[in-house]
Symmetry: C2
Subunit: 431 residues, 2 copies
């Protein structure tokens, strides 16, 4: 398998390139901007996710012999374009919101500067990554808020494409999830992985008791026993009988988990297993998690709803040409209007630290910048200079903390799970 | 990058394996079955997608030094298990519904037979692929039905994970889409790719005219010109002026595309461009496509709604242990009941060729098989024997034809886009 990401691209990027190389416009300096026109229906904030993966993917965006042969064979582009692609490496400038930063409609999430040729070919790949990872991160952040400090484990790999699963585990960790079930995410991103047993393990054995005995022998009494294969009450009784009161946790994966958790807590306490934790899973989303706040649940396992963005599987970001040779450009169609010109963004805060608004302004020479208050801050950071990744970029752990802090700055209604307006308004600053 | 798929797996598959190797149950012959308890809300049929990718992924499911080192370092499993994984290759039997076959609640889509150890570790990877690809294929099939013979192009790569994009293009082609924008899908699966230009190409140029001239010079008059960057009427006028009446097509990507298509057709006809086709794109789903049936639209470009499964981004299939050493097993919890025992399926048809019901029956020795009518047929085919792919499996083109024919056999209400019950009932045949 080639490690090149160059064909994870739409056909039209290369036909545009080909036409522009012929007519000479390919070398015009351009700025492309990634933003979203709106948040998913009723969502109050977006979470930037995937920026780190974008930088990795751009570094691997090169056309080797295999890629060039494919393009030649299918006559996607002409000889001149093939020759140009052979030497392609992105050498431009990229600035953007770091991962874990909140965003709102119009926020300039990523700004790519370079020649038209070198920047246009990145459109599809950049958007694929940001749209996916940001959608998962935003859903994850709502779930982490709902879990209110309790452990929350990502276990949705089986409900999404096998590679989306790895990226989803990463985005969930960014969002504050404790761990993932996905082993490849552990390898690729150093995320803690976890897991013990499924119902199949109990069914494999001659009895629930022998399954529990086997698991305790292999994984120790600190493990989590899945107690709902047959009868939950009997399962819990057996679990404590086999493991003793030091049993780490029991997991309940079906039924009315709130009621069952309460019963399980009483039963565990009565059996002397006061420190045995209760983990619930099975079709949980942020609403179900929130509804369990009053119940004695110690941890959540979340699958489908996380990896499908809990109703918003894509972030609907676009990658738009906003400046050509220093001149602002924008499409002028009926209802998909874009604002031309390269932009920057500032988030304004009250003295109390609460965010007030997202201010977006043009950076063109002569354009006025908004006057900064003492707590206001610029949102973009440099990511690539001359095609090289900037030194000392934040780590995934840094980004995880960034999100945790950013959520605290939202006005209180910004963390409500119900449908509503963006937590803060976006203002377009004009001179 | 390793080509191994072995870590695209949930942690608990390997802890179960480890426990089962210790207690000796790992080598028990088992049958796992993939099925779905229900179709997505209101859907009338499912479409099997991804089976070919599953077989590829199983062939690459091997633990090399890099994978073993990761598992050892993080103490996911013990030494004995590492040694076992080092030699792992799946050597069992797989039968299943071929791609493009319709399915219904309970249909045994894939049956994996082998030791517990060799079959349990495949759970996550098998489900990731089938859940994703089947969700996309089902959404795609509805769109193809709605397009009613008109060309329909997949262009959703930017709205989903970069690798899901490739698999989505494949699933869309299976569903009957004409082509894709995704170049990697062209390389990997031989799917036709297509594309011409985006709004950025027009904005790059000093005028719309120079952009059109450049594109025609590079791609010929048979190309598709995007006419809605500024004013559509002026854009169409200019397009025909530059390309002549032999212009291949115009594309409209925004606004009320139905009204605009009608106006465009009149204008093109008046300009003598009677053969110039009209392609529309921009937030189309199966409902929007159907609503355009009466309009002079020659082709559709579909993005977001396809790659997100049009409201159903995952197929919710499960991989359940149903038989251990010839003995049926099943979980007995409140509302997630499963039927034990290895199963097969027959689809019954009327003399007219219309499908009537999906009959599912146990294949255990002594169990009775349903009596077949002259038009009834078994739905599973052999896919792997002793870990080797069966010779002469159907190609993607075969599977595409299979789906086309299968949809014709549905009762008429089965093709309605509105919410409803499954098109045919599932019956569990008992002796």
């Amino acid at each position: 398998m080639s490690t090149s990401t160059a064909l994870l691209t739409d056909h039209y990027e290369l036909t545009m390139l080909s036409s522009a190389l012929r007519d000479g416009t390919a070398h015009r300096p351009c700025t492309f901007e990634v933003f979203t026109r709106r948040l998913p229906d009723g969502r109050r904030y977006g979470v930037t996710g995937g920026t780190g993966r974008v930088l990795d993917a751009i570094e691997n965006f090169t056309f080797g012999e295999a890629e060039l042969a494919q393009l030649a064979e299918h006559r996607v582009v002409d000889e001149e374009t093939l020759a140009w692609l052979r030497d392609y490496r992105f050498q431009g400038q990229i600035d953007g919101y770091p991962e874990g930063e909140l965003f709102f409609p119009g926020s300039p999430l990523l700004t790519v500067r370079g020649t038209f040729a070198e920047a246009v070919v990145l459109e599809t790949l950049v958007l694929s990554i940001l749209n996916h990872d940001s959608a998962i991160a935003a859903a994850g952040a709502r779930m982490v808020s709902a879990a209110n400090g309790r452990r929350i484990i990502e276990m949705g790999s089986r409900r999404t494409h096998e590679e989306s699963a790895v990226a989803s585990a990463r985005a969930a960790y960014l969002a504050g999830f404790t761990a993932t079930s996905n082993l490849e995410a552990g390898r690729r991103y150093g995320i803690p992985t976890t897991g013990t047993a499924a119902h199949a393990f109990t069914l494999l054995h001659d009895s629930e008791r022998s399954a529990f005995e086997s698991q305790i022998a292999a994984l120790g009494t600190g493990t989590t026993l899945l107690v709902d294969t047959y009868d939950i009450t009997r399962g819990i009784e057996l679990a404590v009988e086999v493991a003793g009161p030091e049993l780490g946790a029991v997991r309940i994966d079906s039924g009315d988990v709130g009621v069952l958790a309460r019963q399980a807590r009483e039963q565990l306490d009565a059996l002397g297993a006061k420190n045995t934790r209760i983990v619930v899973s099975g079709d949980l989303d942020e609403y179900a998690i929130a509804a369990l706040r009053a119940e004695p649940v110690d941890g959540y396992g979340v699958g489908t709803s996380l990896v499908t963005g809990s109703g918003a599987p894509t972030a609907e970001m676009v990658y738009k040409l906003v400046e050509v040779e220093g001149r602002p450009v924008a499409k002028r169609s009926s209802h998909k209007e874009s604002r031309g010109g390269r932009k920057a963004a500032v988030r304004r805060y009250k003295d109390t630290g609460t965010a007030v608004e997202e201010v977006i302004f043009q950076t063109a020479p002569g354009a006025s910048e908004p006057v900064l208050g003492p707590h206001d801050r610029f949102l973009q950071i440099p990511l690539m200079r001359d095609g090289k990744r900037v030194a000392d970029l934040p780590t995934l752990e840094d980004d995880r903390q960034r999100l945790r802090h950013a959520l605290v700055t939202l006005p209180w209604e910004g963390l409500k799970l119900s449908h509503g307006e963006p937590a803060i308004p976006t203002t377009f600053h004009t001179a």
